[in-house]
Assembly symmetry: D2
Homo-oligomer: 334 residues x 4
Amino acid sequence: MIVILKPGVNHDMRQPLIDWLKGQKLGVHISEGDYQTVLGLIGDTAHVDMDLIASLGIVDSVKRVTDPFKCCNRKFHPEDTVVSVGEAKFGGGNFAMIAGPCSVESEEQIVTVAKAVKAAGAQLLRGGAFKPRTSPYDFQGLKAEGIELLKIARAETGLPIVTEIMSIEHLSLFEDVDVIQVGARNMQNFDLLRHLGQLRKPILLKRGLANTLKEFLMSAEYIMAGGNEQVILCERGIRTFEDYTRNTLDLAAVPMLHQLTHLPVIVDPSHATGRANLVLPMALASAACGADGLIIEVHNDPMHALCDGAQSLRPEEYAALAEKVRAVREVSAL
Amino acid sequence: MIVILKPGVNHDMRQPLIDWLKGQKLGVHISEGDYQTVLGLIGDTAHVDMDLIASLGIVDSVKRVTDPFKCCNRKFHPEDTVVSVGEAKFGGGNFAMIAGPCSVESEEQIVTVAKAVKAAGAQLLRGGAFKPRTSPYDFQGLKAEGIELLKIARAETGLPIVTEIMSIEHLSLFEDVDVIQVGARNMQNFDLLRHLGQLRKPILLKRGLANTLKEFLMSAEYIMAGGNEQVILCERGIRTFEDYTRNTLDLAAVPMLHQLTHLPVIVDPSHATGRANLVLPMALASAACGADGLIIEVHNDPMHALCDGAQSLRPEEYAALAEKVRAVREVSAL
Amino acid sequence: MIVILKPGVNHDMRQPLIDWLKGQKLGVHISEGDYQTVLGLIGDTAHVDMDLIASLGIVDSVKRVTDPFKCCNRKFHPEDTVVSVGEAKFGGGNFAMIAGPCSVESEEQIVTVAKAVKAAGAQLLRGGAFKPRTSPYDFQGLKAEGIELLKIARAETGLPIVTEIMSIEHLSLFEDVDVIQVGARNMQNFDLLRHLGQLRKPILLKRGLANTLKEFLMSAEYIMAGGNEQVILCERGIRTFEDYTRNTLDLAAVPMLHQLTHLPVIVDPSHATGRANLVLPMALASAACGADGLIIEVHNDPMHALCDGAQSLRPEEYAALAEKVRAVREVSAL
Amino acid sequence: MIVILKPGVNHDMRQPLIDWLKGQKLGVHISEGDYQTVLGLIGDTAHVDMDLIASLGIVDSVKRVTDPFKCCNRKFHPEDTVVSVGEAKFGGGNFAMIAGPCSVESEEQIVTVAKAVKAAGAQLLRGGAFKPRTSPYDFQGLKAEGIELLKIARAETGLPIVTEIMSIEHLSLFEDVDVIQVGARNMQNFDLLRHLGQLRKPILLKRGLANTLKEFLMSAEYIMAGGNEQVILCERGIRTFEDYTRNTLDLAAVPMLHQLTHLPVIVDPSHATGRANLVLPMALASAACGADGLIIEVHNDPMHALCDGAQSLRPEEYAALAEKVRAVREVSAL
């Protein structure tokens, strides 16, 4: 960690800070420039409160030299982590596709869609049972019943199931779920992350709407620090001023994360764009820049069938997408 | 709700949508323009899935005419809500000041600061027991012990206490807390909000880093829909591209919220700016634009005392601030 | 245009607005709902000041039903525009690659790079002569001399040249430039755009850092309204809170723009990411989602050659990229 | 300037960079940590290309220790700059109010409004002659004629006039204008700034929609580097995800800028919020946090008079605002 002092801070003014740092068992290397003095802290700075030091009147700024994330850091674990779910594998050159409806609505619906997406090439089934909704008056999902219906669809198709958890108190309901999803709004629900770190099953962690990649990795770190190393990261768009698309898909996050971490990174083009006709191009783009998988909304709903062009894809559109994605992956392997 | 169809959508193409809407017990008023047709939906549209309709291929866009928030909407409740905590009151022309350290560290620390902020004019004591930290390796607070120390400080000073909850599973520890704070990262932890709606005590709800005012009000709505009407809203800065300040304090949110809702609105200039020397000007600005209170970090820490200028204010700085805030409020009452 | 009145606005309150609208030769269709009244404006609303109406006390909100852009709107011009520069073509299924150094530095440098990028497959040469720099103390480019050196490189290689204009007063220097680039900071320099609309040569218009797609298209409209229809749009990243990459490449803008406009859309992955090792994956992603071309920084600089990994690509890296881009385009044609 | 090398970069790998830096006449101080090496550059680093160094493969990051702005930097010029226009003064404890209509429409209009705002306490008259409009089809202002009408209003009232310039080619028309305004969209129109630096009259520089405070100051630096020291900075809202208000007024920028620069800082609450009923509270907040002036839209338009509540204030509303602003300034002087 490097502490840059303000111009004009002399020996006497800085000594209390240096003494305090030494009291925290850090070596302090002093480098005096023409204008400003720089302190280099030597030792284990992971526990040093960077904000506290930055807030001091004599300090211009503080810069962390070492990354605050350890378990998920590629520097300390150069090989890709491969997360396996049944026969599907994410990472290390493997690619897997998750598909299914936004919400589980009925046994007939989820089984029908499950069969359709399996036929189209999906390896995992997604479906919302607990739905985080902005409004308390909107449909909140079938909850426990929704999870049971997902299990029925799994029994009928063999597809492992992925569904979102919203609260620690529902954890027992997720015992037989194959991949537990943490939604964007819960990316910094640290207590939830800590509990998931105690499990030994894959966690699909979605990036928060306004979170940096560093914060994203720190949330993965919460899970991994508990010993659960099976974390799949998912880029799903960030909030910006642009309003044609629901969010702004930050696709450069995929190769950037691959440099920073060994964890697999997948993309959710459905939620990121909110527009069905953007899902195909952004799925291809995701594959081209090295994503380790895709999670895509597919429906089988008469209302949509009638009107064409809803946000979710129809099974036949998804099948066409899956084929093109495979072709792009073949030629673009980085 | 108004549904604007795309140009060229004819009678046959739109009929399935109109039938579906009527099936949801809505009246549909059709207005044909030169280029486009507009459907006006009449009846209770609160449960209509706006995103679903917007996603249809024949729909250009959808606009909600009525607000999705009810309980907190000023239209249906024109008088200000006044939230009382001991002798302090927020809203309806009342102003209250909350102060205290970022974290509870020890009995000596919290009692000393409590006495100091009381002397300086604060009416409530804040202090973090459960601390949401980006990193799992950072200090996470004294937890249950921290709450006990806050109670001791309350016993010594008479100041009601405000502290943050991070998870439903800790709810029992907060039984004797006067005001429960929901932090920015949990603003859309809907299960937590729902549980707090079952309580009958004041909730201090902080705006999320990337949340619109509408989403902020919908989160208040989650609490109020459960019957708990004592919600205090807190603007604490949003995430933008600017990096001189930690966040961007969106102060226009104060008068804007006052138009939209009858709930009291306070401001946290300490977290919004992250710089002690900006706390005074932004506290005065908050008072000038009609805020119903302030929550400010005050410390009493030898490390900071030595170095001057930390992010938190010293008690004497806080006392000077409190006096100026009173003067500004007197002349600017809107 | 649709004007939604506030609840409780009665006949007398709305009449002055209706009269004013009729005075502007618009038909007004009144639709009274249970809660609110909606006015549908019929006729040519392109000149109606939407902000003015929205600001009225009796108005809840205003929504434009028709797009404000005409010349660049795909609705009125369904076929792709193809912009040709020498043998290179952008749009309509054609793809062209622009490459070269950030700044023109010397004859030797620009000729060497031009030969290298031509050999690697680039069809146009880029190089900055006038450089917009945040600081007045930074290198501002070789200016007129830089343009002369670009012409020499063109003579040596046959590659058409692309370079940025910063001010109307330099327009005469650009007479013999093949494609004039408008940088992100000048996207809303409306006087400059208007002058470029008088020309009959291709304009490469970069999206502003904080501009929506609608604003981007309106700036293209400024050029096209003058009669110059040869506009190439360029997505180059927008400003967000994320700071690992220099900007956030909004790649979904490519297929979104293709829906909204018939103009070709290219991508600049070099400026968007600011990191050489992200240029290849984002170039492939651009090709996969349907971009009509790429503009990429390539250098040939001993300082960089020594240290490896600078922001620009080396010619051999660019050649490898060009080959992969071709392969991705072949399999992903949408 | 501090250059932090990546972990594992050894002596041989870093030597070319060090040689190159020394070739630029910089001293290089090498500080080797346990994990990483830090280079401290000594000498005049103002011309060193920070981005270039940051882009090198062996470099982790670069941090500028000294500010890149000189002329406007408070460190080198501790006393407030006072900009005088007629009897009005901005800065150094002085406060001045600018008011007037968005656009100059006619002689009658501008003279009537000028008299009204003068009576209400305004010291300068604003009015748009050249209007930057997103759409080429919107009203672009009366241009040269508008400036002539402003001069007539000045002759009638004695109020100095403030109006916006959009292009260098119009410069001669602004010879007799008292304060030349640079709009948000032109904040980084560097050629325009450079020309204004050659003048010796006050420039009102508005912050760009997506520009940081550092970029804002660098644009002021462009003007001052030419010798024109009369720059008034204006905060007018930045672009964020929030959409209730037109932009997000970043009011903490006022005290932050006062720390960084000696230039006066004013606020435009009309454009920042886009809502007339937010202008008063945000004007008071601006005064409370130390702004040196306000620029506010005031109209006198029958259409608005009929409908009440338009974005601009009516003269009597403005008069009430001016009185309250004075009261807040008196008690809040920091």
